[in-house]
Amino acid sequence: MDAEERELLAEALRGTMTATPAGAALDAALAEVGWEDLLAQEPEVAVPLVFSLLGETGAHASLVNDVLLAAAGQPVGGTVALPYAGGRQVVWERADAGGDGGVLDAALPLRAVDPDAADGGKAAADPVALAAGRRALGWWLVGTGRAMLDLARTHALDRTQFGKPIAAFQAVRHRLAETYVALEGAEATLTVAEDELGCLLAKAAAGQAALDAARHCQQVLGGIGFTAEHALHHHIRRALVLDGLLGNTRELTRQAGALIRAQRAAPRLAQL
């Protein structure tokens, strides 16, 4: 796929995500535009594109199931019990959220399941599948972070205090710069995420960047960012929930540390 084709595909996907209600309807609409074939044939294009767009548009769909299933060599379209932070497990239903209020991001059709009773199945136990899932969620988290940065940047330019836009104040500018740097760094780790460790580190970096974005952008947005009428809180909820899925940044960072201490050397994954 060349750059122009990729651009066209991105536009089509963005259109689908903004025009279709998130959840089951978006699952169906993405199936319509060929998500399954794209995932099977060009996962290295499909995953970064689709998942970062989910983040940027604020949409959601249950595609992480497909990413794990496809990587495990199983038929896509079903669900997998997914590891969650703290030794928990969840299922990402292929239906609309029931709105039972259990999950911080109530729009997501996530259901906690008993980790002792749940059968994670082959996909969730397969390290290759887990790595693929973490990489996909990493792209989503970076997209969510970029959505927050965009909201905060717009606000900083529009909002006037002391006779000038608050974007003119260095304290505000530096928070936004910090957010941008974290997101760019995380994206770089995603471009290098090939093996298990690379995907683990990329998910950790992306989770951290999204949490940094939430913190800085909410502060820049001030009072309006704390209201339900502003879109920011949707993205913050999403970042927090996605960070926990397949291991949160804190857990993954600790695992990376344990690994290099056991190996007595830190792998250099990025090569010229």
Partner: protein, 391 residues
């Protein structure tokens, strides 16, 4: 003096720089470094004199074998081939801890400047002296009154009737000036950014006084340099009158690509050492140490990924610009986090033992100051990458 006069008689290039892949070049460099490991090993003497002597020795050996000349143009005494070959060589040198990575990488900012701006045969004549380790060069940019605001510099150059220039003023933070035979010097010849002019100055010219600065980490690698009626021939002007600011800006991409790659390689060797040292301590719960070490690794991995992508963009012919401030922020942050982690997981080592970790820790405090402060980098990101307008 012709550039080839420094090349050993009967020299045959070990590989073809234009056709060798990165992997082939790396394998050949590794084999050579392994073969010559004993002769290149760092001496036990940690003094700066010994370090600079070692730097000269390593460069000389790499130059004589040809490795140091790859990635530099043939017209300037190099052997040609892409820039990335220099990143690979520096990575292998840093990975073996043969020299201080920062000092080794000074070539990366000095040589491109000469190639782009020196008049006539000057670059071809002088560069081999630098690359072969026979000379050290320094960079006279910062001044006591001009740090972050470099364009406000006041070291003055006035042209005499015979065409030569007379320089008066003071530079500071000039790395290795006390060892340098030459200096790439920024001076003021007129007001404003367009009034900055660069010269290539011989450090033994009468009127130059160098005074090393005692730094916090105990290594006198920076110096103050005083210029009192120092006469510089007109032919030693780099570029034209007023080109100094562009010269300073043009070297940023080199500083932020190949130099950073070398520095990151060096920091990974220190992370490996931290992992080894941390094992023997055992004064805190394993999970706590794992988390701290993991965070340092994640930060270093992140900047390495970013820098790899920057190298690839450079190789693809991209012009590097303000986005390299992201690399700079990630690197400075990772470097300080690594030293902070060392202090955390090796309690007392920095305070009570005169170890390498103490030097590392203290030196890392400067990472957010040199090469453009953390605040200046964030200003650049805000202004140029986020388009937030003027502050």
């Amino acid at each position: 003096m012709s550039p080839t006069s420094l090349v050993p008689a009967g020299f045959v290039p070990p590989v073809d720089g234009k056709t060798a892949t990165v992997e082939e070049f790396r394998a050949a460099v590794r084999a050579w470094l392994d073969e010559h490991a004993a002769g290149l090993a760092k001496p036990a003497d940690h003094s700066l004199d010994a370090e600079v002597a070692q730097l000269g020795k390593v460069r000389r050996a790499l130059f004589d074998a040809g490795w140091m000349r790859y990635g530099w143009p043939v017209e300037a005494g190099g052997l040609g081939g892409p820039d990335v070959l220099r990143a690979v060589l520096g990575e292998e040198v840093a990975a073996r801890d043969l020299t201080d990575a920062t000092n080794y990488s000074l070539v990366e900012v000095l040589a491109p400047t000469m190639i782009s701006y020196a008049k006539g045969e000057l670059a071809a004549e002088m560069l081999p002296w630098l690359l072969s380790g026979r000379e050290q060069w320094c960079q006279g940019f910062s001044e006591p009154g001009s740090g972050s605001d470099l364009a406000s510099l006041t070291t003055r150059a006035l042209q005499r009737e015979d065409g030569a220039w007379v320089v008066n003023g003071q530079k500071v933070w000039t790395s290795l000036a006390q060892y340098a035979q030459r200096c790439v010097l920024l001076t003021r010849t007129a007001p404003g950014h367009a009034g900055i002019t660069a010269f290539f100055v011989d450090m033994d010219t009468p009127g130059i006084t160098v005074r090393p600065l005692r730094t916090m980490h105990g290594v006198d690698e920076f110096a103050e340099v005083f210029f009192d009626d120092v006469v510089v021939p007109h032919e030693r002007m780099l570029g034209k009158e007023g080109d100094g600011w562009s010269l300073a800006m043009d070297l940023l991409p080199y500083e932020r690509s190949t130099c950073f790659w070398h520095r990151i390689t060096y920091l990974f060797t220190r992370l490996d050492r931290l992992v080894a040292d941390a094992d023997t301590d055992g004064s805190e719960p394993t999970a706590t140490t794992d988390a701290a070490v993991g965070a340092a690794y994640l930060a270093l991995h992140t900047v390495r990924c970013r820098s790899r992508n920057t190298q690839r963009r450079l190789a693809a012919g991209a012009n590097l610009g303000p986005e390299t401030s992201v690399d700079k922020i990630l690197l400075a942050t990772a470097e300080q986090l690594l030293s902070n982690t060392a202090r955390d997981v090796l309690p007392g080592v920095i305070e009570l033992a005169d170890s390498d970790w103490r030097t590392e820790y203290l030196y890392s405090r400067a990472a957010t100051i040199y090469g453009g402060t953390a605040e200046i980098q964030r200003n650049i990101v805000a202004r140029r990458l986020l388009n937030l307008g003027k502050d």
